[in-house]
Amino acid sequence: MHHIYCPYCEEMREEEEYSYTGEAHIERPKDPAAISDEAWADYIFFRSNPRGIHHEMWYHAAGCRRYFNATRDTQSYKVHETYKMGEMPTITAATVAANQVAKGDAS
């Protein structure tokens, strides 16, 4: 059971209040009427499914009913941060890798 911080409610709330709604930061094609079926299928169906850091959307269904983003580790399930729609994550696969390198150098 995770406790997840809703950036709109500004509180830690139980996982049960939320639902996961898919990968975040997938840009919607500006003019869907004009693009090929392949490009549209790519937008609709294809997701990155990484091992490790993943940015994803959550819905505060039993709370403020707003959608926000979360940075979560798909291996440990740890939710590293949550942030509002339109904002960018501060923790990414790149920052985590850089941290590990830094730690490795130190020891």
Partner: protein, 989 residues
């Protein structure tokens, strides 16, 4: 009869009465069912799962795999309870399992003989998999019934459980799993930091292995330390001590799950604890040795025999023998001997036990056999002697077999740290050769495992580890752990184990006692190619019983490693998963049972419907009137009457359950143009329009009517089932896809009560009810919207029809909805208005050919339901890109058709398969299905809606609706789905 009361142990004086299979027995306060049964001389407690071999008490804890009993009777019956974990209460009823006619004489034990005669055929490894491959027909007729009769555990009660279960949510800084010396020390030390501490122990009495120690003068200071530490914890405000609470799983976010048994009104609590730090001090479990007939009653773990004597004041026999491969079991022999019970032999598979142990035996006159093994336990029902032999240096053969008398055999194959809870959150355990067991490898984040659970069996050394962990955990949380007094005595933890995984012996050698998995099964699993430990587990069902492999796993995988010629470390362990102990479903359900399972939604008119004698049906969470029977009417009579009445006169139906959403903002029209396939920006204020939504993949999502109240204000209705999902979907579109649109959506489903008034006299009825509204065709045409007020109620009236008749939907503010309903009913008296329910609503819409959830099942395209023409060509909308893909518009797709029984009085079953042959068999060409059916009074026939391959062009064809499960085959004619008024004149009249 071998067990008997011997001394007081730590039990109270109070005498309790209980029964075992109806026979009266005596117990003392503090007894478990296991200790009490042993004290009453009971040896055979039940029969085993597959071979029906006699079973007795094998342990004194959660690892019990032999003494499984049913506790309580009737609805309170709890089958497969571990006798070692169940406290005796006054009047408790205990029953044996798998025994016919009695545990001592069991007819089914012939299974054991069959297994011996036909190895590999009956109930051996992979039995279930192989059986499933036999001819399917035989499975149903013969194998399943006979296996169910022969194999199985206790019988679940067939009546509702009358007990109450609760769910509790807790938060703490430091959670300690296990209340032995290490756990108690860690909890007390952490509590002195002021942080919130929770400590769990699955037993009634805390103390762990300290409870195995004799309650003697010599140990008085140690016992006092245990009591003082528990008292200090119980006195601290910031500590919650949870006894009889089995912590069975660790989940994301440091959540621990536990089931706690409690006395009183509530039977069990399901407790979820959110901890910041977790100290796992779950201890270790002794494992059995694998030798011939090692499952015979009165063969038990050495530590259990010792606890029975020292804690429960129950001697397990009059003559004890001990079989071991390590030091720890000697203390059992010494304690029994010191208590005046004869010890006939200590059989040690090692060549050179330490001098202290040898001296201990000599000084007590105990015969010690070294480099020797027990090859077989002997006795008809329970142990009466053992066969022992000398073990060859290579461990592969034995010689010099001889008999030793005893009536209880205490054995020890070493100790298995309880790593499950630690393993749930971290990496797989690693093999530690010095203790011949798996220990926690990498600790999971925020977790410290200490003491015997970490492979440290020494008393003071384990406590020291625990205090270190408490210190570190508190420090990370900004606290300072306190100094606590260490136990006043030490116990050496070195077992000096020399592994002995199996004995070259005759007779069945059980590895998993509860599931009757033998060493031979493990070897067979290997020879059939199931060599991975995960495959071994599934192929043999090893470790899947109540004890979750606590006693069996290490032995089994050691035997597998031997077969494979690899090290135990290489063979590895199976993955540990929650729950690690049997848990009751009642705890998960808590109080959310029966009517509390899910909330019931009622419309404002509920009371009116009740008074009118409505029969209700659950539709989603809503209770909706299904029909309103008059005296002597069946459901069919009632809905046929109601349907006919609506077509001829007028009826009123509660449609409050529809989803209602207000869509407001300057971009509201643009927004609707994107989510609906048809245009809404062109909709005039004061008008309604039917709309259809697609999913992005082109499949039909939902339909409903949306009205325009003002330029920037729309009122959407959704189907009852999709009210929630459509709302969430619209919110998602606005938040994620088109944040630039200036639109707000809000659910107003509860704000409005709604009723449909339908039939040729609907206009006259409403004119009489609301004289201020002009209902003339000119002022209020089909698809018109009117706002009104009536006696303080706000009204929205839409002229729309789901029935095909002239009809209106009247929305009234919820608090006034019943008054408005009554107003309409009163006004309708002149036209014999009748209320109609869901059955009639369905019958009317099927006659009209309207689709609903039964048709829009998530597989249907616009073309399938003949709505492709509605899709706008002038704009883009959700689903447009993919709706025209080849597969979505293929002419052979199943398409919506009407179906009419050729014999009008023959019903067509919903779910029937559409075929062209009269007597279709399983191999028939399945061309479609029936989605909805009704009797149509208008047509005087049973009719249905369904989907038929290429159905659009098959009108007039005669086919069959087959329902093989019920042996039905109904000849039907394919017709248009618009059975009634296909030109749609009535709604406009």
């Amino acid at each position: 009869m071998s067990g008997f009361r011997h001394g007081a142990g730590r039990l109270g004086d109070a005498q309790l009465n209980f029964t075992f299979d109806g026979k009266p027995m005596l117990a003392r306060a503090g007894d478990t069912v296991a200790s009490a049964l042993l004290a009453n001389g009971v040896e055979v407690v039940g029969r085993s799962f597959k071979y029906h071999r006699p079973r007795g008490v094998t342990s004194s804890g959660p690892e019990e795999a032999g003494a499984l009993v049913t506790i309580g009777a009737g609805g309170k019956a709890d089958p497969n309870a571990r006798a070692t974990m169940e406290p005796v209460t006054q009047g408790l009823e205990v029953f044996s399992q798998n025994c016919f006619p009695s545990p001592k004489f069991d007819l089914m034990s012939v299974n054991g003989l069959a297994g011996a005669i036909l190895p590999g055929s009956l109930f051996s490894a992979g039995f279930y998999y192989k059986t499933f491959m036999w001819p399917a027909a035989l499975w149903y007729k013969f194998y399943e019934p006979s296996i169910r009769a022969a194999a199985g555990m206790g019988v679940p009660p067939k009546v509702a459980d009358p007990d109450i279960y609760d769910r509790i949510q807790m938060f703490c800084d430091v959670a300690v799993v296990g209340g032995g010396s290490a756990g108690l020390s860690a909890a007390l030390s952490a509590s002195q930091s002021g942080l919130r501490v929770v400590i769990f122990d699955e037993h009634n009495d805390l103390g762990g292995q300290l409870l195995n120690e004799a309650n003697s003068d010599q140990n008085a200071d140690l016992e006092q330390w245990r009591k003082d530490t528990i008292a200090a914890l119980e006195a601290a405000d910031n500590v919650t001590v949870l006894a009889r609470a089995v912590c069975w799983g660790r989940f994301d976010g440091n959540m621990l799950a536990a089931h706690q048994s409690v006395d009183g009104k509530v039977r069990q609590n399901y407790i979820k604890v959110q901890a910041k730090k977790i100290i796992i001090a779950a201890g270790a479990i002794e494992r059995p040795l694998v030798f011939g007939n090692n499952d015979k009653p009165n063969v038990m773990l050495a530590s259990a025999a010792r606890r029975m004597l020292n804690h429960y004041g129950t001697a397990t026999g009059k003559m004890l023998a001990v079989f071991t491969n390590n030091d720890s079991a000697y203390q059992t022999a010494f304690d029994y001997s010191d208590a005046g019970i004869k010890v006939s032999a200590v059989v040690d598979s090692r060549q050179y036990p330490s001098e202290a142990l040898v001296d201990g035996c000599m000084s007590r006159g105990i015969t010690l056999h070294t480099q020797a093994v027990v090859t077989e336990a002997k006795g008809w029902q329970a142990v009466r002697s053992i066969e022992i032999a000398d073990l060859a240096a290579n461990g592969q053969s034995v010689s010099n077999r001889r008999r030793v008398a005893c009536d209880v055999l205490a054995h020890s194959g070493g100790w298995t740290p309880q790593v499950q809870m630690a393993a749930h959150g971290g990496k797989p355990p690693i093999y530690d050769k010095t203790i011949a067991a798996f220990v926690v490898g990498d600790q999971a984040p925020d977790t410290y495992s200490v003491g015997a659970a970490e492979g440290e069996n020494g008393l003071l050394a384990g406590v020291a580890q625990a205090l270190e962990a408490a210190k570190a955990a508190c420090a990370e949380l900004g606290g300072t752990a306190g100094a606590v007094t260490a136990p006043p005595q030490d116990r050496d933890g070195a077992t000096n184990i020399v592994p002995l995984w199996s004995v070259p012996a005759k007779g069945k050698q059980l590895v998993d006692i509860q599931h009757d998995v033998t060493a031979a099964d493990v070897v067979q699993s290997h020879s059939e190619g199931f060599v991975s430990v995960e495959h071994l587990k599934r192929y043999t069902t090893l470790g899947m019983a109540n004890d979750q492999g606590r006693t069996s796993n290490v032995n089994a995988l050691a035997i597998m490693a031997e077969c494979r010629g690899v090290s135990i470390a290489e063979a590895g362990t199976t993955r540990f998963r929650a729950p690690i102990a049997p848990v009751s479903m009642g705890g998960f359900a808590g109080r959310e049972i029966g009517k509390h399972f899910k909330p019931v939604r009622r419309t404002p008119m509920q009371e009116w419907h009740e008074k009118a004698g409505a029969v209700f049906v659950q539709a989603g969470m809503y209770m909706r009137p299904q029909y309103y029977p008059q005296a002597g009417e069946t459901i069919d009579d009632a809905y046929e009457r109601e349907t006919e009445h609506v077509r001829k006169k007028v009826g009123i139906c509660d449609v409050t359950s529809l989803g209602k959403i207000e869509i407001v903002g300057p971009d509201a029209a643009e927004f609707l143009d994107r989510v609906y396939i048809n245009m809404f920006s062109t909709l005039k204020v004061g008008k309604a329009r039917y709309g259809v939504m697609l999913r992005e993949d082109g499949i039909v999502y939902d339909d409903g009517t949306t009205s325009r109240f003002a330029e920037d204000r729309f009122f959407m209705t959704t189907t009852t089932a999709k009210a929630g999902p459509v709302m969430a979907y619209l919110e998602r579109c606005l938040e994620i896809d088109w944040p630039e649109l200036k639109v707000r959506v809000s659910s107003v489903s509860e704000r409005w009560g709604a009723m449909a008034v339908a039939g040729p006299d609907a206009r006259a009825t409403l004119t009489a009810a609301f004289p201020s509204v002009d209902f003339s065709n000119e002022a209020f045409p089909f698809m018109g919207v009117v706002h009104a007020e009536h006696n303080g109620a706000k009204l929205v009236i839409l002229r729309i029809s789901f029935s095909g008749e002239m009809a209106y939907e009247v929305y009234a503010t919820s608090e006034h909805a019943t008054d408005i309903w009554q107003t309409v009913v009163d006004a309708g008296q002149a036209y014999d208005i009748v209320p109609y329910g869901l059955e009639t609503l369905g019958a009317l819409r099927i006659e009209k050919g309207h689709v609903t959830g039964a048709e829009l099942d998530g597989r249907v395209t616009l073309g399938d339901v003949h709505m492709d023409g509605m899709a706008s060509k002038k704009k883009w909308f959700v689903g447009k890109n993919l709706k025209q893909r080849e597969g979505m518009v293929h002419p052979d797709r199943p398409q919506l058709v009407g179906l009419k029984s050729v014999d009008p009085r023959t019903p067509i079953s919903t779910g029937s398969i559409l075929v062209t042959e009269a007597n279709a068999t399983a191999g028939a060409d399945k061309q479609g299905w029936v989605s909805s059916m009704t009797y149509s009074p208008e047509l005087g026939s049973f009719i249905a809606l369904g989907f038929l391959r290429g159905g659009k062009d098959r009108i007039g064809e005669r086919i069959y609706a087959a329902y093989p499960v019920k042996g039905k085959n109904v000849e039907v004619e394919v017709v248009s789905n618009h059975f009634v008024d296909p030109t749609n004149d009535r709604v406009k009249g």
